[in-house]
Chain length 389, copies 2
């Protein structure tokens, strides 16, 4: 079947994409974008590599690691440094546990208010992994870049993935984040202790903890330290937030900043929407995740089944110990919610609070935006109850 696909699609730029796990539900096939059923997502604190959501913008490049070269350029200077895969591995190895989330996670809920443009992600365009590699700040220092320089404002990344015209995927992050000793930005070659899989950036991916997935550039080919942001489509004309009253006729992409740190979010993963849930000892079990960008830690998750008249504080089943502002990993939580006798249908809501005491907005109406990003309103999941007797 693999052979057949290859021969029948020789002119298809996606024909060399890797095989994917059957549990991943595609939001699009070319490019490949897929997520897990949410109920599987909360099975493990570290998302297994083969089950990690995939968000590709272009075909997956085939990289020969023995020929791999990372180019590092400081704009305005003649300095260019080239590092091979083996050279990158010689830097001190730094490991972080970091959640990566797509800016469009939970878009399918926002689009119910009014149509938005983008992949129809459910609540599982997010995953958590340990990533190991060279610290970007170490690499930039070797390339002669002073972390206190006022010459630079941004660090641009280019992928080895290209559109039909040969233009690569690109994004940038703020210079301060790249060089900050607490920023934990790495050029990763391992994901959960394995070489990074092709779908996740083999051989090298920029891991920028606390920052939107779109800046965690896969198949990293080039780094440019610059005064300016990346001029790529994805930095300039996509992945930005707007007012609910901004439409495609009035939008001006220069008016909003590129998304970097993501706001606080949570989701209910069990039960799934519309699922029948068994009431045991007058309680049901609700499970989910919560996360915040910028290294903020989740400090509380509240759950209600009566529209906010009573809130139940969730228990954290797994949260790593790192304090903010370097808390990069999600929190898995659960709550045993008491059910009033005789209830048949409920709607479960969850909201999280982070270490800056930021919390989620209540509804999508007032955060709606034309690209359907930053979709972090309260998660509301209807469930049908079955009483155990």
């Amino acid at each position: 079947e693999e052979a057949k696909q290859a021969t029948s699609n020789m002119s298809d730029p996606y024909c060399n994409d890797p095989r994917r796990h059957a549990a991943l539900k595609p939001a699009s096939v070319k490019p490949f974008n897929a997520e897990l059923p949410p109920s599987l997502l909360v099975e493990s604190f570290l998302t297994p590599n083969e089950l990690f959501y995939v968000r590709n913008h272009l075909p997956v490049p085939e990289v020969d690691v023995s020929a791999y070269e990372l180019e590092i350029e400081a704009e305005g200077t003649k300095k260019t440094v080239i590092l091979t895969y083996e050279e990158l591995k010689k830097f001190p190895k730094h490991t972080v546990t970091a959640t990566i989330m797509c800016a469009g996670n939970r878009r399918s809920e926002m689009t119910k208010v009014k149509t938005v443009k983008g992949l129809d992600w459910g609540a599982a365009a997010i995953g958590n992994a340990t990533w190991s590699g060279a610290r970007l700040r170490d690499v930039l220092r070797l390339a002669g870049i002073d972390e206190d320089s006022k010459e630079f404002n941004h660090v641009q990344f280019e992928g080895l993935d290209m559109d039909p015209t040969g233009k690569p995927y690109g994004a940038s992050i703020p210079f301060w984040k790249a060089v900050d000793k607490r920023g934990d930005v790495i050029l990763a070659y391992e994901m959960n202790g394995q070489p990074i899989p092709r779908d996740h950036g083999y051989p090298i991916r920029a891991i920028v903890p606390g920052i939107v997935g779109a800046r965690n550039v896969k198949w990293l080919g080039k780094i440019v330290v610059s005064k300016e942001e990346s001029d790529s489509h994805w930095q300039q004309n996509d992945y930005k937030g707007f007012s609910p009253s901004t439409d495609w006729d009035t939008v001006d992409f220069t008016k909003s900043p590129a998304i970097q740190e993501l706001p606080v979010i949570s989701a209910i993963c069990k039960p799934s929407p519309g699922q029948t849930v068994t009431v045991v000892d007058n309680h049901i079990l609700v499970q989910g995740y919560a996360w915040s960008g910028g290294g903020q830690k989740i400090v509380r998750v509240d759950v209600t089944i009566d529209g906010g008249n009573s809130w139940h504080v969730a228990t954290f089943d797994h949260q790593d110990e790192t304090p903010s502002p370097q808390h990069w990993a999600w929190t898995l939580w659960s709550a045993r919610i008491p059910i009033p006798k005789g209830s048949k249908n409920i709607e479960i809501w969850a909201k999280a609070v982070d270490s800056s005491y930021n919390t989620q907005p209540e509804s999508f109406k007032n955060i709606w935006n034309l690209r359907g990003v930053l979709s972090n309103a309260y998660h509301r999941v209807p469930a049908e109850l079955k009483w155990k007797r």
Copy 2:
């Protein structure tokens, strides 16, 4: 009148408090706590010293600057360093423009949902000033404290203000914030170019930009670098957030973190609630402030008069240029809102979005907490319209 007050209150610990500007509306007199009418607040980007909100927990101490000593202790060592006022002024002078806000700002709106405990602050327990002083990181370095030390987690501050038993006001901030090169924490001796007024901490106040007012300790007398947080009442059993369902019977103050960075907030300052507003050319003018803790910049303020069916993006009248995560000052904004013909009564709502794309919660019901802190739901101001003809 001043003399009379002094003689009649010789045993009153508050009898030596300074005189205050008549525009400050007290929320309490002993200790003195007061704010401006919101309409005056947005008159200037830098709040004049005499109009800056006052939040005192105890009597204002009288400090003889020639005898002033700041004690700096590294816990677990024998090291203690003493610095005089003149010695503090010899460090490189660092100036930051930073907004300081009380955790209880806008409490009076939250308490309408259900009674909370605390001073009944309106929307003006906030102010913006330039502060100059010695960088705390420079002072700690001189005191022999290594910024990369893993021995310390917190920096505790003690005020020279004391309760009747002689216990000082106290608070602490995270060690990383104290030493971070982008943290901008200073031991300030100037406020808007003048010696810090007595009500604001003369002669030395810890200015901790992006962090709740309660940790910006006035009349600073002692610094302790420690593994532990301050054990003061205000750090341990106050200034913490809780779930809306937590009441005074169930609250456990050990379960929530001390407030440090504040979440995104905004307020409408003109018109004031219930004010009659003149409609000119079918528009009204709305003005206010927006701010976010942690060095996040305000990226958008949205205003609606139809319950969110249409949102108007406000203009920034004054925002300083510093990028996040060192954007410490508030943003003053205004919006000219079109009014449908014949409207007589409206409710104006405002909400802000910060550079992490965090936004405000919609209503107080779901963020209610027993101390009435973190009261950052949408500001909703009713106004009566008068049509100019």
